[in-house]
Symmetry: C2
Subunit: 220 residues, 2 copies
């Protein structure tokens, strides 16, 4: 929150300029990574801080010093995850010629991120655990799915204004398209292989979704 950090080009810890031994930022990363894997894979309750510490190559006390308790660790992870998502979506909103290309672009970046981060487990976990951490969950959904929906809604509304599509209710249409994309992933996860699909497969999924969507919403 305050502005007392200094930055270097690399991941190297910047000089803290004061006090004793500097905190090793890579440890924080390692902890969050291990927490992600644990929380994603086993769910919040089943995941144990002891195993997270071991897997991160870090003492248990370090985790408590930095994150307070288990809930605090979850909260930090949620915050990080939402932030990752936001930047990924920012990247996705780059220029493209046709509305079709724009949508494929957006969808591909989004779906790649979701698959890459095993995001569905996270989703699942948060839905269950949101009674325990309502604010964190809310913040995540706002930053994640909420932003996606807003961005996509804006894209569709603009396309409608240009006459590329015929969309009376852009938010609902955005939900439709998101559903088509996400549905693929759900099916994949339930029936299919647990391995994450190749970029080519993801692109096919996304393309198909856009195709169906545009057949339904194409301006005549």
């Amino acid at each position: 929150m305050s502005a007392e950090n200094t930055y270097t080009a690399k991941t190297d810890t910047a000089a803290p300029a004061r006090a004793g031994r500097p905190t090793d930022e890579r440890k924080t990363e390692a902890i969050i990574d291990a927490a992600r894997e644990a929380f994603f894979g086993e769910g919040y309750s089943a995941a144990s801080i002891e195993r997270i510490a071991e897997h991160a190559g870090v003492s248990k006390v370090t985790i408590y010093k930095r994150f307070g308790d288990k809930a605090g660790l979850l909260e930090a992870l949620v915050r990080r995850q939402a932030q990752n998502m936001t930047t990924a979506i920012g990247d996705a909103n780059r220029a493209a010629e046709t509305i079709e290309a724009k949508l494929v672009n957006f969808g591909f970046t989004l779906m790649s991120f979701l698959f890459d981060e095993s995001h569905f487990h996270f989703d699942s976990m948060l839905i269950i655990e949101r009674e325990r951490q309502p604010e964190a969950a809310q913040r995540f959904f706002d930053a994640g799915p909420g932003t996606m929906r807003r961005e996509l809604t804006a894209i569709l509304a603009a396309a409608h204004k240009r006459g590329d599509v015929a969309i009376a209710k852009p938010q609902r249409a955005a939900e439709d398209l998101l559903s088509l994309w996400k549905g693929f992933a759900d099916m994949e996860l339930r029936f299919g292989v647990a391995e994450k699909p190749s970029p080519a497969q993801i692109k096919n999924h996304v393309r198909h979704g856009v195709e169906v969507f545009l057949r339904a919403y194409r301006a005549d």
Copy 2:
């Protein structure tokens, strides 16, 4: 497995015709109901057998006598849930005039079931917990989503043959429609109210999904 049960019209326990005190079948129901609520609401690990017993108005020992252990209880619940789902889908596949009415019919029954049973929590839980109970999860997915997909695929293929729609790959189209339906529910769950939507709202959701779907797949 064996055929030594006798049946009456009601939920009343049939006469066991042998031995000492008859098992109270309503207790089994109460246990499964409580387990459903607990597993749905908190996830497998967080749910405690002690609380389930208390909530079911039953001794803890009774649960262990009937289900062996916690995993056994989950397995029984999964079995029951899959069976409920199958019968619900059977009901959904009744006759209707137009393809549109058929699809709305199917979707409405399906979505009503999903919402009514807070099925998404269950889904979420199973995805996380399937490492612990792969066979049970597989059986559930086959009986639930798998059956849905098969049934819907058949309906769409038949409609294609009659020339009502233009669908080259019926299974993919079925996934599209299921995605559109389920996506609504997901959004609802993430952003919206936690309360379950009214039948009218569900019907609106389903109708909209069918509408979009048919605009995309309508035979010209």
